[in-house]
């Protein structure tokens, strides 16, 4: 995580540096605001990752010598095929066309978007419950096991 943090902080700090030079020299507002936003975009996740990297053990992908077996596990519990991204995409497209051809497109499009969003959420929940670690304990009150 430390390298990831440094990448973000490095990029963000560079934007901050050129923001200071640019703003003091040009006094131009559009570019200065954009540089400020970009600097924030780099520094915020950089600080967050840096904060965590000091408080956690190195992840296996950050360790020099490690066996792949160490992260063996089940993959593919989430659906390999799902119609909802397609439905959501069509809904977003129809909503976009509403800006050209009239608001009735948005009515249909938003229907697709909302339907797909709800259905995809339900799908995620079901897939999550299918994972052994997330199954409700047999004979329990139906709640998820404490991990």
């Amino acid at each position: 995580m430390r390298t990831e943090s440094r990448i973000y902080l490095g990029v963000g700090s560079f934007f901050l540096l050129i923001l200071i030079v640019y703003f003091l020299w040009s006094k131009e507002s559009t570019g200065s605001v954009l540089l400020l936003a970009s600097a924030g975009l780099g520094i915020l996740p950089g600080l967050y990752m840096g904060w965590w990297s000091r408080r956690m053990r190195p992840r296996l992908e950050d360790v020099e010598v490690v066996e792949p077996l160490d992260i063996s596990g089940v993959v593919g519990t989430f659906p390999e095929n799902t119609i909802f991204p397609f439905t959501l995409g069509i809904g977003a497209w129809l909503t976009g066309l509403a800006f050209v051809f009239g608001v009735w497109f948005a009515v249909i499009g938003m229907g697709f978007v909302l339907g797909a969003a709800v259905a995809a959420t339900v799908e995620s929940k079901r897939a999550s419950l299918a994972e052994p670690a997330n199954r409700p304990a047999p004979g329990g009150d139906g709640r998820l096991r404490d991990r």
């Binding site: 990831e4 990029v11 934007f15 050129i18 559009t30 010598v65 792949p68 989430f78 976009g96």
Partner: protein, 560 residues
């Protein structure tokens, strides 16, 4: 080899599992390989459509006072040609196609971090891209204000009708698709790497895609915001970019180029990454200066965000020394890359396979475009050549060198991995040489045309202007290039009808995508080699020349 991933499923899942087939599978699959291939097919289709438009443009300019198409149609053609090539081909082909397919394989991941978001990105790209073409079927025609959509030309009084609105919606949808892909790429590379694959062991293509992902997140939201403002100006009576209401037209240029210049590197960096993969494999040497390449990539990304106004020198409202100096500085990390590729080739046991031919062709083509870019970073030269064919030649050489030559290097390099079939070397060589010849014949005369004062985006010129001969040479070159590109299609069709099976690692590649079958199975790997260097597959296949870190008895100290 040690087992990494078990694809076994629990009993209830096996019962529920009914994998669909055919068209429904294509629509619904969240496998990064299926989505990556969809991106590649779609982007290449857009590229051939936009290429056909380029041929129409060049045909119009073959004769003085050409009348192949009308002036309005000509404006629409160059607008949609540029928009398709930049928004719908070059970017999505790289970060949607190659990155989607190759990055999870190179980092030993079973899929992208957000598979369903990945699928949504593709559908936004396809629907958004098609929307742009719908403009041709409207009464007012497609957008005709250039791919940069400068205000006030793009405002309602000067560009009325649904065509420009369709362009705005199209770019917004494709922009969201790009943002989602950027998020997906960065997250995948940060959190789904195989154990032992530290950041400084990642292949350079993956590094390039990581930096591209970060650049997408910086640049694309700015474009989306600018498009919303433009739409508000056109339809809601806002005055962001109109002088009458107190707006500032140049603000559009600031916003657009704050996206537009990083976009150039969003297009270029993935292809630099491809060259950094192909050159060491075909020179049979490790890359010269791995860390130098990583830092050069990061430096290019940082600098690219501070140079946007070098496209606006002639507006008279920008800080010339600041933007000129930063633009000139970009030549330093770019030069590091070029010299690193040359130093990698130097003294290597070079195999001139088709991927290497395209990679070798890329270097001088890119340097030619890059050097003229350095010239244009100097305001006195830019004032003289701005909006002439000199600039047209410059950016076509940069973009075709990267997206076509480096892109084809990548296609020929990874085609066996993606399809399990080999492309013909013989047709591939013809594909390269004819395209390469056409490239130089098309664009070198355009530098001279620009220096002689031919403006860009004009549908006709006079016989007395002295532009005729060079335009004819350029048009002939464009057709030669088209023949070369058609040979690629011939090669693909041939491999489809008369398949030659590919081995899992036909080029003796060194990175993890070559550790799995061709094409890879669902979830990519049945097993992974231990990762102790930046070249794990090389270490496994050539232990006598391995540069793997030694195993420390009792485990790695850094883990505790």
């Amino acid at each position: 080899m040690t087992s990494l991933l078990s694809t076994e499923k629990t009993g209830s899942q096996v019962e529920e599992s009914h994998p669909p087939g055919g068209f429904y599978r294509w629509i619904t699959s969240v496998d990064h390989k299926v989505i990556g291939k969809n991106y590649m097919y779609t982007a290449l289709t857009f590229m051939f459509i936009a290429g056909a438009m380029a041929l129409l443009i060049r045909t119009q300019l073959f004769n003085p006072n050409g009348h192949v198409v009308g002036q309005q149609t000509y404006n629409e053609l160059f607008t949609i040609h540029g928009s398709m090539m930049l928004y719908l081909f070059a970017g999505p082909f790289a970060f949607g196609g190659f990155a989607n397919y190759i990055v999870p394989l190179q980092i030993g991941a079973p899929d992208m971090a957000f598979p369903r978001l990945n699928n949504l990105s593709y559908w936004l790209f396809l629907t958004g891209g098609s929307t742009m073409l719908l403009g041709f079927f409207t009464a007012s025609g497609a957008a005709a204000f250039g791919w940069v959509a400068y205000a006030p030309l793009s405002s309602n009084p000067y560009s009325p009708g649904p065509g420009p609105d369709l362009w705005i919606v199209s770019i917004a949808l494709v922009g969201f698709s790009g943002i989602f892909t950027g998020v997906n790429l960065v997250t995948t590379i940060f959190y789904l790497r195989a154990p032992g694959l530290t950041m400084f062991r990642m292949p350079l293509f993956t590094w390039s895609m990581l930096v591209t992902g970060i650049l997408i997140l910086v640049a694309f939201p700015v474009l989306t915001a600018a498009l919303v403002m433009l739409y508000a100006d056109r339809h809601f009576g806002a005055h962001f970019f109109s002088v009458q209401g107190g707006g500032v037209p140049v603000m559009w240029q600031n916003l657009f180029w704050f996206f537009g210049h990083p976009e150039v590197y969003i297009l270029a960096l993935p292809f630099f990454g491809i060259i950094s993969e192909v050159v060491p494999v075909f020179a049979r040497k490790p890359i010269f200066g791995y860390r130098g390449m990583v830092f050069a990539t990061l430096a290019i990304a940082g600098l690219s965000t501070g140079v946007w106004a070098h496209h606006m020198f002639t507006t008279g409202t920008v800080l010339l020394p600041f933007f000129s100096a930063l633009s000139l500085l970009i030549a330093v990390p770019t030069g590091i890359k070029v010299f690193t590729w040359i130093a990698t080739i130097w003294g290597g046991q070079i195999r001139f396979g088709v991927p290497m031919l395209f990679a070798m062709g890329f270097i001088p083509a890119f340097v030619m475009g890059g050097i003229t870019g350095v010239m244009l970073a100097s305001p006195p030269i830019d004032f003289y050549t701005h909006d002439t064919y000199f600039v047209v030649a410059h950016f076509h050489q940069v973009l075709i060198a990267t997206t076509i030559f480096a892109g084809f290097a990548g296609i020929y390099y990874w085609y066996p991995k993606i399809t399990g079939r080999m492309l013909s070397e013989r047709i591939g060589r013809w594909n390269f040489w004819i395209t390469y010849l056409g490239f130089w014949v098309t664009f070198m005369p355009q530098y001279l045309l620009g220096l002689r004062g031919m403006p860009r985006r004009i549908a006709v010129y006079s016989a007395t202007d002295g532009f005729t001969f060079l335009n004819r040479v350029s048009t002939v070159g464009a057709y030669v290039m088209a023949i070369g590109m058609a040979l690629f299609l011939v090669n693909v069709v041939r491999s489809w009808r008369r398949p030659v099976a590919a081995e899992d690692n036909p080029w003796d590649g060194a990175t993890l995508e070559w550790a799995t079958s061709s094409p890879p199975p669902t979830h990519n790997f049945h097993s992974l080699p231990p990762i102790r260097s930046a070249r794990p597959v090389w270490d496994a296949n050539h232990p006598e020349h391995s540069d793997a870190a030694p195993v420390i008895a009792g485990g790695d100290e850094s883990a505790h």
